[in-house]
Chain length 137, copies 4
């Protein structure tokens, strides 16, 4: 069964354009962060709550494919899904497209799980249970 | 006698341009931060050392005048000087121009002085002494 | 009678925080841009349409007061109103606050009106009429 | 024989930190742009000159590995080398580390070659010759 997928819509900000007239490439990683934030909120694990419990999800790897242009004020839609990966990683897969379906970017981000001291740890049970549950929904 | 003035040169990054083909307006505040960082380093008070001593200099007011365009990869020069302002404020004045003297932006930033708990405090003596000294140099 | 005021709500992005744990100061100018974008859309003059008609509204001056902290994922509300200023300027006044009314930042941005060649011009009649009309609404 | 490698040093800006106290993840893509800019300048093909000749090098793919933290004002060193990839791609490999050699990030960016109309084209001879020449240096 397919995993849970969150969807957010947003507009390209003027500050996110560059002199080519499309969004600057690094903005996709900032948008991916917004996608993860909404995904985690929707599955009941807001990232600010994760941080308050003493965990962090620092990025260890990111891959982005740039598939099409998007201009200032264009309305874009971003889909995000997450899963555990390996023994101690969380992985998010993300896709951004125009409202009419034209692809803009896709990619994934892979995160370590760290404790208050920044040390990598195994996913605690409460995190594992929520993420496993939404995989089967 | 004129106050100490620091000078830094830097290039406009591609990520700092927008679709008008000049730098995006908010970048000036990021550049001003670079100007303050170098000014404080040069007068012997690196900002990271100020933070390690438990003080912060959060911005309370910023004013910017946009005076001219600057394109990707243009080499710009920024001048910065600082002083105490009122009883408990630090003020920096900044100017950015092209190498040939054409003006790009000018402005000032005004900062509170805060302790470890984020509470506004009067400037400690060690901060006051350094800033007063460079006023007379 | 009071001028038209647009309202947008948005969340602080993780990428907009800095190591003080609040939003980085230059982000306010990016948020102000979002406020202007929505204001202009709501009064029937989307900025992308203004650009397509060959006009630009480059920033010539910005002032920001920083009034309070805002953390990652905080929900903020921004009010924006605009007016003609002097003979050939457009001015926007903006305020950002928390949902509970605690102030975050306020300020104004002043813009020249430029033609396709980047030359400053007087406001064309169609622009003047729309902005005047919403002043009286 | 190894390809030409450019080296740039730079400091982490305050605006590039986030509330984890290290640089925000998307900044690496902005730094990579600075690395490419210096690489192209050093091999005699400044990117602004490439754009003036009507070519663009839009990003089609980016991969980043995050290998270590870097704090505000830390002095970092970035190495960059470039090559042609496939029939119509340019690829840059980049590494960022602390002055003492501790790794910060590494990755690659893959670029299409586009003409004035944004259409993908084969690398023109003048581009091919320069990039091939520095491979053998």
């Amino acid at each position: 069964m397919p995993a849970y997928v969150s969807v957010v819509t947003f507009r390209v900000r003027y500050s996110e354009t560059d002199q080519m007239g499309t969004f600057y490439n690094s903005r996709v990683l900032e948008w991916f962060e917004c996608g993860r934030t909404e995904y985690l909120r929707e599955i009941g694990l807001p990232y600010s709550a994760i941080e308050q419990r003493g965990l962090g999800l620092p990025l260890v790897e990111a891959k982005v494919k740039y598939l099409g242009r998007a201009a200032y004020d264009d309305l874009l839609r971003m889909r995000c899904s997450g899963c555990l990966s390996g023994r101690a990683r969380v992985r998010f897969d993300l896709e951004i497209e125009h409202n009419d379906g034209r692809a803009v970017a896709s990619g994934c981000t892979i995160h370590a799980i760290t404790n208050r001291h920044g040390k990598a740890v195994r996913p605690p049970l409460w995190l594992k249970e929520v993420i496993d549950r939404v995989q089967e929904s």
